[in-house]
């Protein structure tokens, strides 16, 4: 009876000791979203320097302790700043990153449309006459060449 109890206790203890160990792949899933703090522009999962390996060990430890991937990343960002992830976290800089190119593109599109409308307006009538013949334009030069070929062959 005592033996059975001890055996049960031991097996329960062993069961608890086989805790969740973060697999290498799990670590990669987190590390691929981060960047090496020393080397330039190298994702953390690819970097093999001592510092990066230490960081990956820490990620493994944090994942094993049950933290979610995003929490792990946030803890590193809090200590080392925005440049360890690929998207700026600071709200102002993040806004600058995304909004400025969008604005610039919209402006370029706007300028293009305005120039187009400026030139297109008065020509409507003449254009409709052109429109029916426009598709012939596409094949015209080609047809010309074909006919040249035909004449040459005769």
């Amino acid at each position: 009876m005592l033996v059975a109890f001890v055996a049960l206790a031991i097996s329960l203890g062993l069961g608890r000791a086989q805790e969740y160990r973060a697999s290498d792949t799990d670590v990669i899933r987190v590390a691929e979203r981060m960047y090496c703090p020393v080397c330039e522009n190298i994702p953390l999962d690819e970097c093999q320097t001592t510092a990066c390996l230490e960081w990956k060990d820490e990620i493994a430890a944090q994942l094993a302790a049950g933290r979610a991937p995003q929490e792990v990343i946030n803890s590193f960002v809090a200590r080392f700043g925005d440049h360890v992830v690929g998207v700026p976290q600071d709200p102002l800089i993040r806004a600058l990153t995304f909004v400025l190119p969008l604005l610039a593109t919209l402006m370029a599109l706007g300028v293009g449309l305005r120039a187009f409308r400026q030139f297109a307006g008065s020509k409507k009538l003449r254009l409709n006459a052109e429109a029916t013949g426009a598709d012939e334009l596409r094949d015209a030069s080609y047809r010309q060449r074909l006919e040249q070929d035909l004449r040459a062959m005769r």
Binding site: V27, E32, E40, P88, A104, F116, L127, A131, R138
Partner: protein, 685 residues
């Protein structure tokens, strides 16, 4: 002896370039043939001069003249002969000289091919080219001289006795051969790869190539010759620069994929982006130039694009060589930074000022008007907007934002792939849609029903393909939509080729092969262009497959054990340590790949230990379906750590690249027809 000749040749080339720039500019202004010819001849002489200088450096590299500090820094006694040669462009000084050589080569070719045809533009064009060449030669001569040598000054204080200088210091003594050999540093092991042989030269040819169209554009602005002459010369040279740049980019991607061991081929690193930006502008220009040639429109756009392409090249090379941004590709910090920034700023401002002045005077007016929104001209303008948007987004992410963030907000940021993909994906989708619609729309005007009718066959084919993909189990909706858009563009190109060949068959009763060959021969630009588009779509399919559906895992395996990844099984068999000829220690693992129980490949991923750093060389099993790509991360004989990538469809990226190059060659191949032979005869008289 070598260094003296090389230095003299370099100095002569610099003097010639300065003189040629001044004389040609004077000749352009005064229209005096005397100055124009003098400038031209001086320009032509720069090439033999530089060739001599480069030859001296190459000989020094090949014959191990370690007294030259460049040879000392990029080679060592163990370097194999091939990498001695490629060390010419292995580091800042040699690569600057090589760059100048290529610029001189292009200038000579431009003069040879265009002197007669563009007679009115040539003086100013030569002046521009020579000004650029003079700048780079000045950098080589005064700041980063490849002919500096090591000297010992016994008379100087200890610690100041070793000196590197181009001119011989007084009382200097050459260091001993043995000491030099022992200390020679050798090149970064990452650069000892076959990719080094061809990737930098191709890239440089692409970069330098954009100087020529810029020179013609600037000449047109300076001389007021703004009709059609400059666009013809510019477009052809842009295409040539564009081919080399495309090759350089594709080879760079392939090299990174093969050797650098991270399972990818494009990292959105600022220096990579610096090479991509001129390619984007160049592509926009090649298309937009067609409009000016056919309809006399978009002159302002085209000028802007040519200037932007050159400006992007100069800014890119500045950013790479000055260390202003963080990058894995950066050269070591050097003094060329500020001069290059100044050069970029001056060239861009002068060109823009000239352009805006001419435009303000009304000399760049469109000869026709925009008809309607669906005409080919309008779609090409939309195309320009898409490429400009890509340019802005990538420039901002690589340079603009990081610099602003560090300077103004005192915060370092990393703009990673995720951020770039946010912008780039929708824009590339727009590009593929345009690639499909624009060839079907007509010059002048297209009514919607007509366009719709033309679109029906490719759209139908696309819908069928997408359906087939969805049914076959491609799970992600976004990926299927992506494939759909890319395939649409492909089907348009294929349908157009089919229609053209069918028309020939109907009229001339030719067989399919003859029809196709005649089609391509008579309409090189158009159908070569379709092949290029096909290449781009094949690349697109490869990129979607290898990015969206990539599998990446890492496992530790004991010897003899195996792991299952998707429907493959990888078994770790053996481990060999061996020393290579050049002294590196190779740690080679042997793994076997099986699928469905059958062994299909044996691979040898390994780690090479050079003194300073280890290099990871992947083992890969490549098929059209995917690449099974294995990296040895670490470990020993008993257990090793492997990182495994499955990259579906990645080989389509390379095949698509080949198709792109073939298509471009078809499009630019000089046509020797009876008509052109006659024209040449007339020109020679």
């Amino acid at each position: 002896m070598l260094a003296e000749i090389g230095l003299s040749a370099l100095a002569i080339a610099f003097a010639l370039a300065v003189y040629a720039a001044a004389a040609s500019a004077l000749g352009g202004r005064s229209q005096l043939a005397r100055w124009q010819l003098s400038g031209r001849n001086a320009a032509l002489l720069t090439f033999p001069s530089l060739l001599l200088a480069v030859a001296m450096l190459v000989i020094a590299l090949m014959t191990e003249q370690y007294q030259l500090s460049y040879v000392y820094s990029v080679t060592d006694p163990q370097t194999p002969a091939l990498y001695r040669f490629t060390a010419l462009w292995g580091s800042q000084r040699g690569s600057l000289l090589f760059w100048s050589l290529l610029m001189s080569l292009f200038t000579t070719a431009a003069i040879a091919l265009n002197w007669r045809a563009e007679r009115r533009l040539m003086p100013y064009a030569i002046a521009t080219m020579m000004a650029a060449l003079a700048f780079f030669l000045g950098l080589s001569l005064f700041l980063e001289n490849p002919f500096e040598r090591w000297w010992l000054l016994p008379a100087a204080a200890p610690g100041a006795q070793e000196v590197s200088s181009a001119l011989i210091p007084p009382l200097a003594v050459a260091p001993s051969e043995a000491a030099l050999r022992a200390g020679a540093q050798g090149l970064n092991p990452l650069l000892r790869h076959f990719g080094m042989v061809i990737h930098p030269p191709m890239l440089y040819l692409g970069f330098v190539g954009f100087t020529i169209p810029f020179a013609f554009a600037l000449a047109a602005l300076a001389a007021g010759e703004l009709s059609s002459g400059w666009i013809k010369a510019t477009r052809r040279w842009s295409l040539i620069a564009w081919i080399f740049l495309s090759l350089g980019l594709i080879l760079g991607g392939r090299w990174a994929y093969d050797v650098l061991g991270w399972g990818g081929y494009w990292g959105w690193d600022p220096v990579e982006n610096a090479a991509f930006l001129p390619w984007l502008v160049g592509t926009a220009f090649i298309h937009s130039a067609m409009i000016q040639e056919k309809r006399g429109m978009l002159k302002l756009w085209n000028m802007l694009l040519v200037i932007a392409a050159f400006s992007a090249v100069m800014f890119g090379t500045f950013a790479t060589r000055s260390g202003v941004i963080e990058s894995v590709h950066s050269f070591a910090r050097s003094e060329v930074g500020f001069p290059m920034l100044a050069f970029w700023a001056v060239m861009t401002l002068v060109a823009l000022a000239l352009l805006l002045w001419r435009w303000g005077r009304g000399e760049l007016r469109d000869e026709r008007q925009f008809a309607n929104l669906l005409s080919r001209e309008s779609l090409f303008v939309l195309n320009n907007v898409v490429f400009i948007a890509l340019f802005i987004a990538i420039f901002w992410g690589s340079f603009g934002l990081p610099i602003v963030s560090e300077l103004i907000f005192d915060r370092e940021v990393t703009i990673g792939a995720e951020t770039f993909e946010f912008f780039v994906v929708p824009l590339f989708i727009a590009m593929y849609v345009l690639m499909g619609v624009a060839p079907l729309s007509a010059w002048g005007a297209t009514s919607l029903p007509r366009l719709g009718a033309a679109l029906r066959p490719p759209l139908l084919l696309t819908a069928l393909s997408v359906l087939a993909l969805a049914l076959s189990g491609t799970s992600l909706l976004t990926a299927t939509a992506g494939y759909g858009v890319v395939l649409f563009a492909a089907f348009v190109a294929l349908c157009e080729i089919y229609r053209g060949a069918k028309a020939r068959r109907r009229l001339l009763d030719e067989s399919w092969p003859r029809a196709l060959r005649a089609l391509f021969r008579r309409n090189q630009r158009r159908y070569g262009g379709y092949i290029v588009h096909l290449g781009v779509t094949v690349i697109g399919i490869g990129v979607i497959g290898s990015t969206v559906f990539q599998t990446e895992v890492q496992h530790t395996l004991e010897r003899g054990a195996s792991v299952a990844v998707r429907d493959y099984r990888l078994r770790y068999d053996d481990f060999i340590r061996a020393r290579a000829v050049d002294g590196r220690m190779m740690n080679i693992s042997v793994v076997t790949l099986s699928r469905d129980g059958r062994e299909i490949a044996r691979m040898r991923p390994r780690i090479d230990d050079y003194e300073q750093m280890p290099m990871t060389i992947a083992g890969a099993h490549s098929t059209l379906e995917n690449d099974f790509y294995v990296l040895l991360i670490g470990g020993d004989r008993e257990r090793a750590v492997f990182r495994i990538y499955i990259n579906p469809l990645v080989n389509l990226v390379w095949w698509g690249g080949i198709l792109l190059i073939i298509g471009t060659i078809i499009a630019v191949y000089p046509k020797v027809t009876p008509a052109s032979r006659q024209r040449k005869r007339e020109a020679d008289e």
